[in-house]
Symmetry: C2
Subunit: 285 residues, 2 copies
């Protein structure tokens, strides 16, 4: 792992790092914020999965998470959204290929060799973090925005023992039922929709996946709400399945980082309460 840059910020260290990924076959860049802490202690860690076109840099520069993470003593990790580089396959459009990995392990050519963001986020990245950073993998939370909100919800629903807290900003809640999702899942996984089900938060819940609770904020002024995000599908799926969920519609807010940054501190606090509680429970057990 190579350190690209570090900055002192909000009483902690904001770093950007690069490593050769086994999952994707290419170098991957990610950022980590580590609040100051007592030597030898390990911190709970919150993953933020970004949306279409984004790299680690968008939330790192504009997410306004550091003050809250420093207050609560939480490390914050922001991976990229796909492999990058001239030799990585790509496609026309911003919504497929580079910058649009959709947190799946692709099975279709030419994507299958490199577009393995599920394995990268679920296995490789946490192992690297545990080796290189003072983080406690028994206290992981996950959140994300748009395509990354889809990633956060689906990864959490498939790994309920790993994540103690889950939230999302303006997530794609059902890739099976929107143009972005249909294009991406067909492209990465092929036409058989049975293979798509584990990459759809609503389908996972309908098929029995459960987590203790989840938090979603969605701007009512979001231009992608009606056609792509369809928050009501998640609300309905949770209600029907008895999946606890706090899903909030925020009047006037759009899909931008001006929206994300507004509710970031509340999300960090939401995760902090659950990660702290899991710590107490682990010690009592």
């Amino acid at each position: 792992m190579e350190q690209v840059s570090t900055w002192r910020s909000h009483g902690g260290t904001q770093g950007v790092y690069n490593h050769q990924s086994k999952s994707t076959g290419y170098p991957m860049t990610f950022s980590v914020f580590v609040p100051d802490h007592d030597p030898g202690t390990k911190l709970p860690v919150l993953f933020f999965l970004s949306g279409l076109t984004c790299t680690h840099a968008n939330v790192t520069e504009k997410g306004e998470f550091r003050a809250a993470c420093a207050e609560h003593g939480i490390a914050f990790v922001a991976p990229d959204t796909s492999p990058r580089g001239d030799e990585v396959p790509d496609a026309e459009g911003y919504d497929f290929g580079k910058g649009a990995g959709f947190y799946v392990d692709a099975t279709e050519a030419p994507w299958a060799a490199n577009f393995r963001m599920r394995s990268y986020i679920e296995q490789e990245l946490p192992e690297l973090l545990a080796e290189q950073f003072p983080v406690d993998l028994n206290r992981q939370g996950i959140t994300g925005h748009s395509m990354g909100g889809h990633g956060a919800l689906t990864i959490a629903l498939r790994n309920p023992d790993r994540f103690r807290s889950v939230s999302a900003f303006a997530p794609i809640v059902s890739p099976l039922n929107c143009p972005w999702g249909e294009k991406a899942l067909a492209g990465y996984l092929g036409p058989d929709k049975a293979a798509w089900l584990e990459y759809d938060a609503c389908a996972l819940i309908e098929n029995g996946a459960r987590i203790p609770d989840l938090l979603v904020d969605q701007g009512e002024g979001d231009a992608f709400l009606a056609e792509q995000l369809k928050t009501h599908l998640l609300t309905d799926a949770c209600a029907k399945a008895g999946q606890p969920a706090t899903i909030r519609l925020q009047p006037g807010y759009d899909h931008s980082y001006y929206f994300i940054s507004t509710f970031m501190a509340e999300h960090v606090a939401w995760h902090a309460r659950r990660l702290a509680l899991s710590h107490v429970q682990a010690h009592l057990a």
Copy 2:
């Protein structure tokens, strides 16, 4: 005035606006954050002057000021750092010409016609704000970063009746005594250093200018500290003149927005206390 874009953010409206400036002869872009407020009320307003190369966008995206401004009910205005456009004169280097107006009224050709950022900030912009936004010009504060910290300090020192609060992040404290300042003031004002004195915070203080107090944060890890910023010159000038000042060196912090955003909320609170106090005093008077 044209509205370029607006976003809902942090319980207020973040907008970007464009207008034809009389001072500079070109269209100028600026951003304004207006927290939600009771109809008919006018808000105190904090100006943020940006540093070399920046536009309104840098602090608007990365400054992390909106939460604090919403909490305290303060409007936040971020102007550009020079006139822009293909026909505007420019020079080699990032530190002179476009993006480097240094908040002076230039007197040398070819700059004198358009590089009039002093008049723009001191006169034209506040008049426009009073016409177009719910701001109270009896409660103005000013801050800025680097070249913009120089702008904030010098504009405040020349206009003690206008600004109720003054602060700066990593300011150029004495353009007469650093390469950035020498290049810019010679270029815009000519070789006679007598004309530079009103654009130098330390010289203004030495020559009798006074404000109630000022706040400066400066990163000790700032790569520009020793050669360009020279914070100690301001500390010495204030001490010698009896000018009240809180000048803080912050270990490890550099010159970036990771530094600015860390201390932004404290600066907004500093301004808020003084702007609120001036309001009480005005009502008692």
